[in-house]
């Protein structure tokens, strides 16, 4: 390889000036094909898009913490009910309305099963466990009006709420994405008609569609997913359409078409991978909406049928006695609020990671 030598140019007083000169070596003129000697210039190498996204995502503290919290809540939803000996529908009327009691913590004066009741004669401290002489019974979050363990029910409810939200969001994504992509790609009359249909559906309040559907169909998991599916795909289709309009005039699409690619190949194999970031972000925004709508439906009395429970139905049940036994309503509300918060922050973080221009604003 050529050696670089520094040669002194001017010697007059003042700053010393050097000039690089090359001294050629014999092996400069041989063919370089071997792997060992060729290197990629790492300074200017193109960065992997996903690596960049990941780096930007993890640099965002709020989003990262939210991700961890979502994972923890997910794990608790999966394994929480297994951590106790109670089942979510097992009733024990002799042990109803027990305040939370946790092993270990009970000696520190918190979570010891005490609760203060406001009666006409004043505030009264009662402890359900001691009254019944139960030394070995622990309800970590307390027990409800039917003597069911709230810990088990909260995580069972989280599991159902999350399940509904995930199913609904994924189905929404598939429908909305296809609808928007097709509408944007074909343009013209097709686009016009498809847009008008979407606009009309969007014009009907979500509340009305969901309520009416729930009245006509039998109650249950699938019905709620179906109701959410019908209303939530519009947002996704709008984003997919807008992205499609941006991309479809680009050269790579033209190249693909020149090479003889069919319409659906171009839509789903050429353009879709380029907008997957926006789609995932929108998916993440769909999840809290779905959780919220489900909770709302349960609160109104159109949710999951008993004895199954969701976060909304737990809140709705505990609402009736929330002034006397506030500990019954706090866990489901906290989990619900935390889930909504985390998914929103996660979605915000993803949006910024996929589209760094947004952050500068």
């Amino acid at each position: 390889m050529a050696k670089i030598k520094k040669k002194r140019l001017a010697t007059v007083s003042g700053p010393e000036i050097y000039k690089d000169t090359y001294e050629f070596q014999p092996d400069d003129f041989t063919l370089r094909g071997d792997v060992e000697t060729t290197r990629i210039d790492t300074n200017f190498a193109s960065q992997n898009y996903w690596l960049e996204v990941r780096r930007r995502f993890f640099a965002n503290k709020g989003a990262f913490v939210s991700l961890i919290l979502v994972i923890i809540l997910g794990l608790l939803a999966a394994f929480g009910p297994l951590m106790t000996n109670y089942s979510y529908k097992e009733q024990n009327l002799s042990q109803k309305n027990f305040a939370p009691r946790v092993q270990g913590l009970e000696h520190f004066g918190i979570f010891d099963g005490d609760e203060s009741l406001k009666t006409t004669t004043g505030v009264k401290e009662i402890n359900g466990y001691e009254e019944k002489g139960l030394t070995d019974t622990y309800y970590w979050f307390g027990s409800d009006v039917l003597g069911r363990d709230i810990w088990t029910r909260v995580w069972e409810g989280t599991r159902i709420s999350l399940g509904i939200a995930l199913c609904a969001a994924i189905i929404d994504m598939l429908i909305g994405m296809s609808y928007g992509l097709i509408s944007g790609y074909f343009g013209g009359k097709v686009d016009n008609i498809m847009c008008r249909i979407a606009e009309i559906i969007n014009g009907i309040p979500r509340l009305v569609i969901v309520t009416l559907l729930m009245l006509v169909l039998p109650r249950g998991f699938i019905t709620i997913v179906f109701a959410l599916m019908i209303t939530e795909w519009i947002g996704m289709s709008r984003i997919a359409r807008a992205e499609m309009l941006k991309l479809k005039e680009q050269e790579f699409v033209l190249a693909s078409r020149t090479l003889g690619a069919k319409h659906f190949f171009i839509i789903f194999s050429e353009i879709l991978p380029n907008i997957i970031g926006q789609i995932i972000t929108q998916l993440m925004f769909c999840i809290p909406t779905a959780i919220f709508t489900e909770a709302f439906l349960s609160f109104v009395g159109l949710g999951i049928p008993v004895p199954m429970c969701s976060l909304g139905s737990l809140i709705s049940d505990a609402f009736n006695s929330f002034t006397t036994h506030p500990y019954q309503i706090i866990p489901p509300i906290l989990v619900l609020a935390l889930l909504m918060l985390c998914f929103n922050m996660l979605a915000d973080g993803l949006r910024e990671a996929f589209d760094p221009k947004l952050k500068e604003m």
Binding site: C195, R196, E199, I200, I201, G203, I204, P205, R206, L207, V208, T211, L212, L215, V216, P288, F292, A295, F296, F299, V300, G301, L302, I315, F319, F322, T323, P326, I329, I333, L336, A337, M340, L341, N344, M345, M361
Partner: protein
């Protein structure tokens, strides 16, 4: 501009027709018929059907149904209060709901706008963080959680405000519901205002205005705020929808005798005719608001106002 408004109105009419069609079909699907009495003979039934127009083709029935709906004739309630015309049930409840909803929108829009402006002006300070936290919380936490929290602290523990709605003191009893309802609007408006203001504040014409000697209040209000208001108007429409959903739950929590709690009761007691009537009213209100916002947007935004070909 004319074309734009015409298009919007046309879409609204079609949406309304679609809704009435869905409601009509649902009404046909509902179990039971008003003439289930076994003593009725076939001729009597036919006479009854003829009297109520049930022997006519479906399309005529549908037309009649739409006509009645728009006239405000929704039929009678079956379960909630037997044989009371639904329009009567709604008449006394609608003003209460609209009052609380209106208060919530006003509160949310004004406070949200203020928070957003402050956050944008004091970018990257304590106020900015405070505003961001409020808006993230407000968007993520459902309104009934706030409602429960408020009702527990101020209603139950401190007894400052009535926990449940009382007819005697409508103002004091609507404070907490309005605040609980407004938080979502407040948070969203604050968030959008902040983003829009930041964008406008960084633009060239602000620099021009400043260099021409405009400063302080007039600079913020006339030059920055006016331009950032345009997109904010569009987010208000979906917010009003969320308000409708929220009102159902909040009205139940504070037992407000409004339309929302009527709908909840109707759902729980399977009073289909009330549910359908209220669905119609909700949809009509929603579509009306959307249309108003769209037209307002067209008037404010010069890009639409001056366009020859109205775009979407």
């Amino acid at each position: 501009m004319k074309k734009y408004i015409f298009k919007r109105v046309l879409i609204s009419i079609f949406t309304m027709l679609a809704i009435t069609l869905v409601l009509f079909i649902l009404l046909q699907l509902m179990p039971g018929s008003p003439f289930n009495d076994e003593k009725l003979t076939a001729t009597q039934k036919a006479a009854l059907n003829a009297k109520y127009g049930l022997d006519q083709p479906l399309i005529v029935q549908y037309a009649k149904y739409v006509f009645n709906m728009f006239k405000g004739d929704f039929g009678v309630s079956y379960n909630i209060s037997k044989n009371t015309p639904i329009s009567q049930l709604i008449q006394s409840r609608l003003p209460i709901s609209i009052a609380i909803g209106g208060m919530a929108v006003a509160l949310g829009a004004i406070v949200g706008l203020f928070l957003g402006i402050v956050a944008a002006l004091k970018h990257n300070t304590f106020w900015d963080t405070f505003c961001t936290i409020i808006s993230v919380l407000g968007v993520s936490v459902p309104s009934y959680v706030f409602a429960l929290g408020l009702s527990y602290t101020f209603g139950f523990k401190l007894s400052w405000l009535p926990m449940l709605y009382t007819q005697n003191s409508p103002i004091a009893s609507s404070v907490m519901p309005s605040i609980a309802l407004s938080l979502f609007t407040l948070a969203s408006v604050a968030r959008f205002t902040r983003t829009e203001m930041m964008e406008v504040l960084g633009s060239d014409y602000m620099l021009l205005a400043e260099s021409k000697g405009v400063y302080g209040g007039p600079l913020i209000v006339r030059h920055a705020l006016r331009n950032s208001l345009i997109p904010i108007v569009t987010v208000l429409a979906p917010l009003i929808v969320d308000l409708m959903t929220g009102s159902l739950v909040v009205e139940k929590i504070f037992s407000i005798p409004g339309v929302g709690s009527l709908l909840v009761t109707a759902i729980q007691s399977n009073d289909y005719s009330v549910v359908i009537a209220l669905s119609f009213i909700y949809s009509a209100m929603y579509i009306g608001i959307m249309l108003a916002v769209d037209i307002l947007y067209g008037i404010i935004d010069p890009r639409i106002r001056l366009a020859k070909e109205g775009t979407n």
